[in-house]
Symmetry: C2
Amino acid sequence: MKTEEVAKKLVELCRKGEWMQAVNSLYAKDIVSVEPRAMENMPAEMRGIDQVRGKTQWFMDNHEIHDSKVTGPFVARDTFVAKFDIDVTNKASKERMQMSEVGIYTVRDGKITREEFLPLAG
Amino acid sequence: MKTEEVAKKLVELCRKGEWMQAVNSLYAKDIVSVEPRAMENMPAEMRGIDQVRGKTQWFMDNHEIHDSKVTGPFVARDTFVAKFDIDVTNKASKERMQMSEVGIYTVRDGKITREEFLPLAG
């Protein structure tokens, strides 16, 4: 698949809330996933599809998603960007947050090989 | 300046329509600027602040901007993203377009050293 096809499929799956299906079908085995900072006992940078599946499962297990909006994709060459606005409650802390962030994705040989998330500056 | 300061200044100047001031105050001399594709007689990739000033001047001379909205910045490490929604008419063709794109910016030593633009996929 070309970058634009991968990008559109990712956005489509995220809009349906099918986060794990997106990882399983579109991510390379050697995916590198970079968060803005370390979270709980997870490092900011994770390597390999098993770690990314673990992070995705952790997010789903520990958060209640009330609403989410995905904008994009924005595509050029081997790169695409999607914007995520997510209204979410952390189940443990009961804290409800409006998260706004973009993901920058790199595609190689039809699979996502790198994703990097950038939060909206306060 | 740190990445977040540079990012916020860029967004502030773009919101005011002060595109050339943004280039003059925030861009490195060896800036690399990458558009999705070549335009008229300009290559997709331009190098050096003089070429980028030329592109900015060409854009301002040849387009009438009716409205623009800048979303962001989204910031992590040495990278930031801003989203631009611009309602613009090409003066020569009289074609009015709603452009939606994101810019991915790299900051080094307090200056923007690379910008890459990605249009919303159709």
